[in-house]
Symmetry: C2
Subunit: 352 residues, 2 copies
């Protein structure tokens, strides 16, 4: 291993970076081969040929091309998460097994490259109690940094009472859940597939935003005030709707009462990332309505072009102390990542 020790001018932690493991890839291929109608597989089928496509190699790799790309761009750390839709298309037993294998692998990767990787743990909502146990293991035993969930599971969202153990575990462990998008449930995706709009054009953000609103109106943020949800793509549009959400909340009448306004939960219980949105207007909008402590840098490697994201965040016209928060300080706080590279490896922490 010849990891180049670059000294980037500012630490860069990218927080929505996809990886995969062979067990995961095999399970997805098996599902596709069995003729599953999961709309997410449309995208995978598009990629899956006879030979393993390059992007899957990029997902599996954490030792070669990924590190080279990171080094070239001065990206210090990837916060890795099992690529969407994770284990959520599989039957419960297989899903839990793949999630647990992915978490073990993440812990190995972190041990091998303590300065370069952190990890979000997967879990299988199909079996909520086993999920909660795995969430605890992932944080307390494996030392992972939070959780990833790829929006709905078989058309169900985290607001369902049966998923309460999952929210309870996340809050109890004080570990954030990154809700990564996936294609909406089939009845909704069907409205968009004609022009392939069911993913990044429309479906991803519409579904992920709905997910958070459902969690909000299930009173989960009232019951677990420290519950933190992370959304990519500059908040999946929710910041844009804060005023209107409050207005309808106050004037609608048919919705469950909440302790606070929707915009309060968006400011207090959500974090957003810049994944897939390397655009000054949305970043400045986010800073305007959420402030500098709620936004984190993300690339969405290998799906988006890493160079674009870094060049954007390096050059966008914001104060350097804000850039620093977005590039690493907020991620260090939310995901409990030691505040300087190298510290985790030696255990010689100065600041807990």
């Amino acid at each position: 291993m010849d990891e180049i020790e670059k000294k980037p001018p500012m630490r860069r932690i990218a927080t929505e970076e996809a990886f995969s493991i062979p067990e995961h890839y095999d399970a997805i291929r098996a599902l596709a081969a069995a003729g599953s109608e999961e709309p997410d597989l449309v995208m995978w089928r598009h990629f899956l040929g006879n030979s393993r496509p390059a992007f899957v190699d990029n997902l599996m790799d954490v030792d070669r091309q990924r590190l080279r790309t990171m080094d070239e761009l001065g990206v210090g750390m990837h916060l890795l998460s099992l690529t969407s839709p994770g284990v959520q298309m599989f039957e419960a037993g297989l899903a839990a097994e793949v999630a647990e294998a992915a978490n073990d692998r993440l812990a190995e990767i972190k041990a091998r490259h303590p300065d370069r990787y952190a990890g979000l743990a997967s879990f299988a909502p199909q079996d909520p109690k086993r999920a909660a146990r795995e969430m605890e293991r992932a944080i307390t035993k494996l030392g992972l940094n939070g959780f990833v969930l790829n929006s709905h599971t078989n058309g169900e969202y985290l607001d369902e009472p049966k998923f309460r153990p999952i929210l309870e575990a996340a809050a109890g462990l004080d570990a954030a859940i990154y809700i990564h998008p996936r294609v909406p449930p089939k009845p909704m995706a069907d409205l968009a597939v004609k022009y392939a709009l069911e993913s990044g054009h429309w479906g991803f953000q519409s579904d992920a935003a709905l997910h958070v609103l459902r969690i909000m109106y299930s009173k989960a943020f009232d019951d677990f005030p420290n519950l933190k949800i992370v959304l990519g793509h500059m908040g999946e549009g929710l910041p844009y709707w804060m005023w209107r959400l409050d207005y309808w909340h106050k004037n609608g009448g048919r919705r469950p009462p909440l302790k606070k306004l929707p915009s309060d939960y968006i400011r207090e219980n959500l974090m957003i990332t810049t994944s897939g949105m390397d655009w000054a207007p949305t970043l400045k909008f986010g800073l305007d309505v959420l402030g500098p402590d709620n936004i984190m840098f993300a690339i969405d490697y290998p799906y988006q072009e890493a160079r674009l994201s870094v060049e954007f965040m390096d050059s966008v016209d914001i104060p350097d102390d804000v850039r620093e928060k977005i590039y690493h300080r907020n991620a260090e706080r939310i995901f409990k990542i030691p505040s300087a590279p190298g510290i985790a490896a030696t255990g010689a922490k100065e600041n807990a």
Copy 2:
């Protein structure tokens, strides 16, 4: 009639103002009474009791309270449109009859108050050829100012080939179509009804944004370059997604080719209004990414509070020439409203 002739400091034209006629209200009540499962009726049922609720009186009134409210706030003109979901829940024949009656009524209202009202014509997409004929009549015979469509019709969107006569008519008549939101098709609304999120919280904007993307990817803006679509609620979120839409368009591969980028169509073929979004951050964002010629003032009377909208637009920190464009100049251009009050009444136009 004691119409007070206030001289507001700046002409204010509100462009998404709802009205109704008894035939429309009766048809909606009949549908509800027949046990229709249209998700839009959930909202109506909430309002409909044994006696006619006050908001329906406000919808029907154009001579009393509405004018008083306008006068109090210095709102010179309402651009009226048949309230959502218009005629789109009815069977084709009834739908066309109610639309035609509403258009006749609008022409009468305009004749009675030429300085105070303009109108968007309804049509029944259920019968596209009859719709196209009515669209022509509404503009050339009745002198109305554009069209209103309440998003999908029985789950179908304007991109469907059978609706081409409608897009062709709008483009041929050089008259904009205001796509007003309605509750999404039932399979999508079902994901949101648990917490009543199917309307202004989430469903309205998700569905209306999908509608425009479907129109875009049907190549309608390539085929009819002067086709203008108007969206309320600061563009139903689409301005927020411009960068990401372009990125996915260029990198996705599975979508139909288009002559331009999605952001080009959003800038060139869309107009957005401030309805239901009296919030400086979204207005400034819209000005930043679309410029001052693409945004129009709207209240959404009687559903939103008119005073809030006027106080917001009067006080928001933007240059007065931009405020003037938003308050009236853009609406005058897009909806062919004579540029000073009184001119239409006498016919003594100075500028065509």
